[in-house]
């Protein structure tokens, strides 16, 4: 995409660079440190406010300029200079767009093109700048602008999208064709650009420094406003030079190679682009950074527009020009040759690109650790690899918030409609570089807590009176410090031992719980795992039982253990079942296991105590013998009926009898129709879809499972369910218990050993080995003013505050929504404390505490500048997915759209500088909200296609409920990775492309993953050599469609692709089965389902259409 765009800039490129300096200087001026800039800089600095103001006018002017965008296009050639300005303008406007612009300047013209329009709009919005800490993100959509364009706009509308209102459809259709056209052209340009680059390289180098200089500020400034806050002054700016060098040195070299390669490839534009992008990105980062950065910088003062003002000046002229020629579609137009632009369609490249945003964040924030010391910092995106240093707030791996700056009043919150939610993953796994939370042992007295609100000691507690008392940061209650905990305060009022005590200096830590925190006032015994295996006909025939038993033999050695313990404390037990249950006595003293059949399924009980739950090592011989015999014993079974509820009941009773918590692993194949409690009937009815009764498909058939789940929770019995259905099994009902007990559900439709073995075994291994906390209770405390009001996830709640989790593993996430119940104080901010009381896998009772401090604001702009779209989507998806239980799906969808529109409208109304109503202006932080929201709306649960089964929907619904932010992110917007564009030697993941069919080249191979599925798409005209080296067949036609395993071949490409597949799998909590899809093949339909930017077969809107629709909604709200 960028590539395409890049083309236009190319020519300017050479110039742009020069421009840049100026640009930079102007915007960052001082920072870059470039000689010239400083002057500007200084000017800027001083002026900032003034700037903005001045800009504002410019903004106001901008609208007219809207028309201008075309002008920008016109400018493009000469625009470089303008770019510079634009760049700034961009910054203000839509960071992204601007970013692109800058990139363009740096490398990709593309950005610029869209930017141009954006810019014009942005200019209007841009004002932010000033605050380095707070970054405002205003994303303006060029296309939108067009539509929204003023009076002059109308024509534009007519041109491209027509009226925004009608836009959706119109744009949809138009854009596509138009876009495509433009693309092709765009591609061509890239070539030139690429060429230009090589030529330009030298300048680039020179540029890079600049860019880098920019970048740093940009990065520092825009994205990480908070970061920049602290950093910028010292590091940020000073840093920039430093970083620049770094950048320069590292990036440029890298860049260059790519560049060189690029140059090599020049022939094929696409590769060039891709390669360039990465390479450039580095540079771009810089540029991008600035782009974004600027915005943030500018951001604070919306009025900041004035800043642009000066810059805008140039743009303005442009717009008019553009208007005339190309009408509104400026963004695209910008990039595209003027002629193309004339088509009026919204250029998909001009609308905010998730890929771009992710890349930018990676480049900007991936390099330095995220230090949690400062309150209210927005962490890097979940897609970015970064390290965390805990300096008093919980790592974003544990807690992410929709916004890190909370409105002080509920009125504000209501106005903004931005949900205040935290996505908490209390037992999240950390990368090896980060230390897991310290365990603090306060001995018999137990952890120190506030007497009133019971909050645990944390870094935010204020010690007063020389350390004799402390004031609770949550409820302000003043408590005595127990003598054994007393410590003197230093001159700043801090305890002298603050840094010696994790609970006084860290955001996350653990307490050893005393016996008061244990059930029945008794320390818990180590938990147990019970494997419960369906041995009905289906399970035997599919080979599942044999496979599973074989695997368990070795898997039992890998039970989770605490720390460096030599042997897992977990005991295991085995049950098989069909219509009746078979328990096994595997006591070590027995020569042979003993089977005990319980057929009284109506009134389940555990037939044995001694010998059911055993230590693996002690009973190994008996267990092995048992696992050998199970498949044999049932080899001739004809029993097809199964029970389900009694199985769970049995496991739960077993744990109860053993007086421990634990986990049940259920391997189940069919709808439980045997006469027993929890018996189900087949109620699958596709006719209900899109009716008011559709919700019943998601609801359990019977209340029995809820009751059962409740008992399980009380016993600390977590249930993990592995389903192997050949037909409808009513996942909605079967999942109730796993869902409420904090368990996981895995589903393998039509399981066959040959095809699904690896996936199942991999999931099983991971599931068995993962560290779990048992019998947990989680409570989220907040400082006065807000309150946790709603919870989403896999757990049970018997009251309104305690989240009860029979089991909690490192993948499970709880999303918590907050509401105001009072005014917040800007100074003191808002505090969250999540306390999780759980039993470790060795049976130790512990409390894990996570603390997070957030800022509070009185200006809505601050809110919008500190949001995290990914988290927002996580919350909204969960909210919607729960909604389908009670409301018709359509209602849920509409509510989502409305809320989203309200959020954006509020921003537009209160934060964006005035501009044409025809402009779609998005906050920088939320510029991806529409695209992501569209993905949520199109998801199987909310808009099922014909091929999606009721079970699938229920399954997905259940999965999403406990996903963390990273998982929802990739789940809703899959990653699409081109495989042959980047050099084979490169070890990094190839840069992703947007999930749209348009982005697929039939000469390439792509990997697509969404955390659950993994496709390898092979273009029809992919090189024969590639086919040969990857599939070991001679031509495209010989590739087996639906292949799930790539042949192991000894060539670089094969190794690389397989390596990439492995690494993708390693990133996800579930094993993704690979499916090879050939272009034009039947399976491609399946694949296309995941190209979420396109129109979906089930009626889901394309990104562009949806954006138009969203724009329309916003406009309606505004008017």
């Amino acid at each position: 995409m960028n590539v395409n765009q890049s083309a236009p800039p190319v020519p300017p490129f050479g110039q742009p660079q020069p421009v840049y300096p100026g640009y930079h200087q102007s915007s960052y001026g001082g920072q870059p440190g470039s000689t010239a800039p400083p002057t500007h800089y200084g000017a800027y600095n001083g002026p900032v406010p003034g700037y903005q103001e001045t800009l504002a006018p410019g903004v106001s002017r901008a609208p007219p300029s809207l028309g201008a965008p075309p002008a920008t296009t016109a400018q493009t050639p000469c625009g470089q200079a303008a770019y510079g300005q634009f760049g700034q303008g961009d910054v203000q406007n839509g960071p992204s767009s601007t970013v692109q612009m800058q990139r363009l300047s740096g490398s990709q013209p593309f950005g610029s093109a869209p930017l141009a329009p954006v810019v014009s709009q942005p200019t209007v919005l841009q004002p932010y700048g000033p605050l380095p800490t707070s970054s405002q993100v205003t994303a303006q959509l060029a296309g939108m602008q067009i539509s929204g364009a003023m009076a002059p706009a109308p024509p534009t509308l007519g041109l491209g999208y027509g009226p925004p209102t009608s836009l959706a459809s119109a744009s949809g259709s138009f854009p596509n064709s138009g876009l495509y056209g433009s693309y092709s052209q765009g591609q061509a340009p890239p070539l030139s650009q690429t060429q230009g680059h090589p030529g330009a390289q030298p300048p680039q180098r020179s540029a890079p420094p600049q860019a880098s200089s920019f970048t740093p500020p940009a990065s520092g400034g825009p994205r990480m406003p908070s970061m920049s806050g602290p950093l910028l002054p010292g590091q940020g700016f000073g840093g920039p030079p430093v970083s620049q060098p770094n950048h320069v040195s590292s990036p440029p070299p890298q860049v260059l190679p790519p560049g060189t390669q690029m140059t090599g490839p020049p022939g094929p534009p696409p590769p060039m682009h891709s390669s360039q992008q990465p390479g450039y990105q580095l540079q771009q980062n810089g540029s991008f950074g600035p782009g974004r950065g600027p915005q943030p910088n500018y951001g604070s003062p919306y009025p900041g527009a004035p800043t642009f003002g000066s810059q805008p000046g140039p743009p303005q002229p442009l717009p008019p020009k553009r208007l005339d020629p190309d009408a509104i579609p400026s963004p695209q137009l910008n990039e595209l040759p003027p002629q193309q632009k004339t088509r009026h369609r919204i250029d998909p490249d001009a609308i905010p690109s998730p890929i771009q945003v992710i890349e930018d964040d990676r480049n900007n924030r991936g390099s330095e650790p995220f230090v949690t010391g400062v309150r209210g910092q927005v962490p890097p995106l979940v897609t970015t690899n970064f390290l965390v240093k805990d300096q008093g707030n919980a790592s974003p791996r544990y807690i992410r918030c929709t916004s890190y700056n909370i409105p002080c009043t509920s009125d504000m919150a209501k106005q903004a409609q931005v949900p205040l939610a935290a996505v908490i993953k209390p037992l999240a796994r950390l990368p090896p570089e980060e230390a897991s939370p310290y365990v603090v042992d306060h001995g018999e007295s137990g952890p120190l807590r506030c007497n009133r609100c019971k909050a645990y000691m944390c870094p935010f507690m204020q010690f007063i009176e020389g350390g004799r008392r402390f004031q609770c940061c949550f409820c302000s209650c003043i408590n005595d410090v127990p003598p054994q905990y007393f410590q003197h305060l230093d001159h700043t009022g801090k305890r002298v031992d603050a840094y010696d005590r994790p609970e006084l200096s860290l955001g996350s830590y653990e307490f050893l719980a005393t016996v008061d925190y244990c059930k029945n006032n008794k320390f818990p015994s180590p938990p147990a795992f019970i494997f419960m295996i369906d041995v009905s006909y289906n399970a035997i025939r599919s080979g599942l039982v044999r496979l599973l038993c074989e695997e368990l033999k070795s898997l039992l050695d890998c039970l989770p253990r605490e720390g460096r313990a030599e042997e897992s404390a977990i005991r295991v037990g085995f049950v098989t079942y069909n219509k009746v249950l078979h328990f096994y006595n595997v006591k070590s003293s027995l020569a042979q296991p003993q089977m005990m059949v319980v057929s009284d399924v109506a009134d389940m009980f555990v037939p044995l105590l001694d010998g059911f739950l055993v230590n693996v090592n002690e009973s190994r011989a008996v267990i092995t013998s048992l696992l050998d015999q199970i498949p044999e014993m049932f080899a001739d079974t004809r029993e097809t009926e199964t029970v389900f509820a009694p199985v769970i009941q049995a496991g739960m009773e077993a744990l109860k009898a053993a007086e421990c918590a634990g986990k049940l692993f259920l391997f189940h194949t069919s709808l439980p129709i045997a006469e027993a409690p929890g018996k189900l009937k087949n109620r699958d009815d596709r006719k209900l879809i899109n009716t008011d009764k559709e919700k019943t498909l998601f609801q359990p058939q019977t209340g029995a499972y809820q009751t059962l789940a409740k008992e399980c929770v009380a016993q600390g019995c977590c249930v993990d369910l592995f389903l192997f259905p050949n037909q409808y099994v009513d996942v909605a009902t079967l999942c109730v218990v796993p869902q409420l007990t904090g368990g996981s559900v895995y589903k393998y439709a039509c399981f066959q050993v040959e095809n699904d073995q690896e996936r199942f075994l991999s999931d099983l291994r991971r599931d068995v080995q993962k560290v779990v906390g048992f019998d947990a209770v989680m409570r989220v405390r907040t400082s006065t003013g807000i309150r946790a009001v709603d919870f989403f996830g896999a757990f049970y709640m018997s009251n309104t505050t305690d989240v009860e989790l029979a089991g909690l593993d490192g993948d499970k996430t709880v999303t918590v929504e907050f509401k105001h119940d009072d005014r917040l104080n800007e100074e003191s901010g808002a505090l969250l404390q999540c306390a999780l009381l759980y039993t470790s896998c060795a049976g130790q009772r512990r409390l894990r505490i996570h603390n997070l401090a957030l800022n509070c604001c009185t200006q809505l702009a601050d809110l919008y500048r500190n949001c995290e779209t990914d988290t927002l989507i996580n919350y909204m998806a969960k909210f919607a997915y729960r909604g389908v239980l009670n409301s018709p799906v359509k209602t849920v969808r509409d509510a989502l759209i409305t809320q989203c529109a309200q959020i954006l409208a509020c921003y537009r109304k209160n934060c964006a500088s005035p501009s044409s109503a025809g402009q779609l202006i998005l906050p920088e932080c939320m510029k991806l909200l529409p695209v992501y929201l569209n993905c949520v709306l199109k998801s199987d649960v909310l808009q099922p296609g014909a091929e999606v089964t009721t079970d699938d929907r229920a399954y997905v619904r259940q999965l999403v409920t406990s996903m963390d932010v990273a998982e929802t992110n990739v789940f809703f917007y899959p990653r699409l990775l081109p495989l042959t564009k980047s050099p084979i030697e490169s070890t990094t993941e190839p840069p992703a492309v947007r999930a749209s069919e348009e982005r697929l080249s039939d000469g390439d191979i792509y990997l697509l993953e969404n955390g659950l599925n993994l496709f390898l798409w092979v273009g029809a005209s992919v090189q024969q050599g590639v086919v040969q080296s990857l599939f070991s067949v001679s031509s495209f036609s010989q590739i087996t469609s639906g292949l799930s395993i790539l042949p192991v071949l000894d060539n670089p490409l094969s190794k690389k692709v397989r390596g990439l597949v492995d690494s993708l799998r390693a990133q996800r909590s579930r094993y993704m089965k690979l499916i090879v899809v050939k272009q034009e093949d039947k399976l491609e339909m399946l694949f296309k389902h995941f190209l979420v930017e396109d129109k979906s077969l089930s009626g889901g809107a394309s990104y562009v259409d949806f954006l138009c629709h969203m724009h329309k909604e916003i406009r309606q709200l505004l008017s």
């Binding site: 089977m595 057929s599 009134d603 014993m633």
Partner: protein, 738 residues
Amino acid sequence: MATYLEFIQQNEERDGVRFSWNVWPSSRLEATRMVVPLACLLTPLRERPDLPPVQYEPVLCSRPTCKAILNPLCQVDYRAKLWACNFCFQRNQFPPAYTGISEVNQPAELMPQFSTIEYVIQRGPQSPLIFLYVVDTCLEEDDLQALKESLQMSLSLLPPDALVGLITFGRMVQVHELSCEGISKSFVFRGTKDLTAKQIQDMLGLTTPAMPMQQARPQEHPFVSSRFLQPIQKIDMNLTDLLGELQRDPWPVTQGKRPLRSTGVALSIAVGLLEGTFPNTGARIMLFTGGPPTQGPGMVVGDELKVPIRSWHDIEKDNARFMKKATKHYEMLANRAATNGHCIDIYACALDQTGLLEMKCCANLTGGHMVMGDSFNTSLFKQTFQRIFSKDFNGNFRMAFGATLEVKTSRELKIAGAVGPCVSLNVKGPCVSENELGVGGTSQWKICGLDPTSTLGIYFEVVNQHNAPIPQGGRGAIQFVTQYQHSSTQRRIRVTTVARNWADAQSHLRHIEAAFDQEAAAVLMARLGVFRAESEEGPDVLRWLDRQLIRLFMFHLRRSPFLQVFNNSPDESSYYRHHFARQDLTQSLIMIQPILYSYSFHGPPEPVLLDSSSILADRILLMDTFFQIVIYLGETIAQWRKAGYQDMPEYENFKHLLQAPLDDAQEILQARFPMPRYINTEHGGSQARFLLSKVNPSQTHNNLYTWGQETGAPILTDDVSLQVFMDHLKKLAVSSAC
């Protein structure tokens, strides 16, 4: 008299029948006046080595309401090949097979010496013997070990084709599947839940709806399909191992609690299992339990140790809260088992009570054994258990199953009822009286488990009116038809036909008197008494008995544990009564009036009075109460023995004297089932109480004049002595003579 005595003995030996009256009063009025009812003790399967069974089927009277069997009392017209039924006077044709008969060529059943005859039925499937062990695992380790050994031993005694099954229980009930290789498999049931037969069969997978089509053909061996009952030859090793691995119930028993024992459910499942697999086939459920049922249906006492198990006192005070419910449960089971021809044995070994009172009906109604001991680790249990598998002269087990006893009478008589290990089959008929004595209202009874000594008391009523005299020389006839499954798996029918003379009580009173069988009458009356004692208040029964009888043994009967519950736990009473209601006459008499033999240098051993005066210093006494055998050394003898005279060659006669009672006791022990408690004690020994509690307390601390005399030993008791009893009785008899 001698002739009558011989007659009685002869009849008993040949037919296993003893009547209270051997000449019958000819009218209802006279019969009523004679107080002791016309009744008989019948030992249906009395061992008859001299009676080979005939290999054909009996000939039946063709009248549908009669169906009496051809017998020596029938009039036969050899020419016409007709015979007249002596009960209904129907004339019947002989079947074709009998064409060759004549006066000189009679079939066995027409010969007078074959008044008792046994037929072997060739039709129908032969059922194997079935033994279902129901084993309590809530035992002490050594107890369980002993029991396991006994059980393993018993496997070797069973015929190879016998089917065996195993159910163990404690807190849960496990039904072991014996057929599988490798993993031993069992079905487990909750011990607290009462299940219907259908549920049990469903849960055990005995009702396989998919199978009936295939199952239809191999119908000849329907039982082979059961996984839970397998031929011993197939699973001998397996079962032996399984028994060997049997563990104590693993569920923890906390301090102050009884182990949870699900006897009720275990039995219920055993009954249900057999019901589903082998209905109407002889089978034996053998329950081994070491304590009272403490949970679920049939629970007798809670698991709190501080609440003791019910005593007679509690029962009288209506304070035994579980008793009624539990009894009902076991009665229901017993009836179900009886309906299907299965018998239930109870082997209860514990120091405390085990709930025999509640469970007694299981054994009583199905003809099962009841054995009570202190521990499974005693020879009493071990040998008793072994004796169950003893064999007769033909090498067959001394047990029979699924028997039906049918009684037919001539018109002057009606059947009032039966007392014994049987249940009514509720077959009404013209010969069934409306007045019930014992289990009445029927002419047929089911006796699920029989052995050669099983004896029933059968009571009749003379219905002939006074004004319709029976012609002189007329005889009344009774036919007993016992169909049963022989231990050789054959089905057999034993027919006993007896006749007695009628006599007019007014004119032939002396005849009737002479033909009175005092022993039989005593036992029969005692049975009635015990039967009533089971269902009525103790004192009422005693009063009834007092009114009915005035004889010597009455004194002992009154003091016996069958009627007197003082000093006995409810379980013990049940146990004693159980045996009293099924043993034959001789044994019953011993139970009522224990036998006391005296050994001394003064002469050969002699029976002596069961009186305290018989307890002398220079005697050795041997008392047999059926349940106990006591050898008691007099004071002097004991001193001698202590001095070691028996080891001195010159006192070898003393050694012999000591040995004599031991030998005699051994002889009794050999034959007795169940094994009596064998007690060897001496003067002043604590165990001497067994003797002292039985003897007539003619000398107590109250008759001071005998105090200190050397004759006899004083008994410390408030019981009246026979002398006092007699004096009182005489007074009463005279005063009420009006």
